[in-house]
Symmetry: C2
Subunit: 221 residues, 2 copies
């Protein structure tokens, strides 16, 4: 018997809720790398048994955000400099392709929404929210690309780095540069110049990586 997926909509199960909540806690930096999480402890927090907790953790593990240490609980995966470099390299190679494709189909609504996030990022006072605005800005610009697989990969890669970045509030550095670059990317999109948007996106990603490396270098002194 053959069945093809049609109605993906489904009421969220506990397992899904826990997955989302844990993921948010990790990428927002509330749970830090190396912190040990017991299944029973998480189950208590959500007032459920360990069964849905385990399923959520398996999914987080498949995504690489978390790893299991048998009899020692789950931990948020530590992020090595090497892995961070890989992730920025991947982003620098994939995101320009996505934005170029997106610009070709970009609606006016998308542009407006992106502008709002860009402004929010520029004017937001509370540092803890910068990561969110930053992400919304970029995600919005990629929306019209019709490249779901690219976006899944890039999204998970960003999750991975965000889990570390936000915990450390690294974003504080290079804010002025990031704001300027965001405006540059947005401007290219408004002019419907996909190639330029792609070029600036690539430079933006490589630039943020350099800022990050610089910060980590100073940090260790």
């Amino acid at each position: 018997m053959k069945i093809f997926a049609t109605n993906l909509a489904k009421t969220a199960s506990s397992s899904d809720v826990i997955f989302d909540a844990l993921r948010d806690s990790i990428i927002s930096g509330q749970i830090q790398a190396g912190e040990s999480m017991r299944q029973a402890h998480i189950a208590e927090l959500f007032n459920v048994s360990r069964i849905p907790v385990r399923e959520a953790l398996k999914r987080l593990e498949a995504q690489g955000l978390v790893q299991s240490l048998r009899y020692k609980g789950y931990v948020v995966s530590p992020l090595s400099h090497a892995e961070m470099e890989e992730i920025y390299e991947i982003r620098a190679n994939l995101e320009p392709i996505v934005i170029e494709k997106s610009v070709a189909n970009m609606s006016d609504e998308t542009l407006e929404e992106a502008k709002e996030y860009c402004d929010s990022f520029s004017t937001e006072a509370e540092a803890s929210k910068w990561g969110e605005w930053n992400r919304l800005f970029h995600e919005t610009l990629y929306r019209d690309a019709e490249r779901p697989y690219h976006l899944k990969l890039v999204g998970e890669a960003i999750d991975r780095v965000d889990s570390y970045l936000r915990a450390q509030l690294v974003l504080t550095n290079g804010m002025e540069i990031a704001i300027r670059e965001h405006h540059g990317i947005l401007e290219a999109c408004l002019q419907r110049d996909g190639a330029l948007a792609a070029k600036r996106t690539r430079e933006h990603i490589l630039g943020s990586y350099r800022v990050l490396i610089d910060y980590l270098g100073n940090q260790s002194k």
Copy 2:
């Protein structure tokens, strides 16, 4: 309390065994897209309860190989032409980077092993094994790159396409071309010419995509 991951080795649980077995069945084409799999049915096959089965399925779902249709079982995710195109685009962009880095560190043992897989691919009579040799050949050449994150992404992308390709035995087409290109890539590696290996890898991937599209085009006539 902080705990950092050290001993990742652990005895495989039922859940792990089931995950591996299902993944193999899917990427080898034994379970085809759209085929419905009941939790209880899988549990019977492995002589276990549904609990470890569910965990394995959640992991496969996170990887995109499978999707849940509530009350209708899990199905192997159908692969659209659009998604296939995305995957080949990603591979064409990432794998050249990996092989170039790999060639820079490539050991003689790696080269020898790759040559064996290359020969096996060329001389194998049984079509069902070509996919396996092909994959081992490429994976071996990427081994010395020290790019685990790249390899994880590329590996999962290949899983996704293999699940479809092998089921259809599409590999039959363009074999002579693939063999010639494999030799070309291997030769570039033997000459320690990373840039050339990268270029040929990219062409090889784009070429296989063209063969595939061509095949699918003829198929639908």
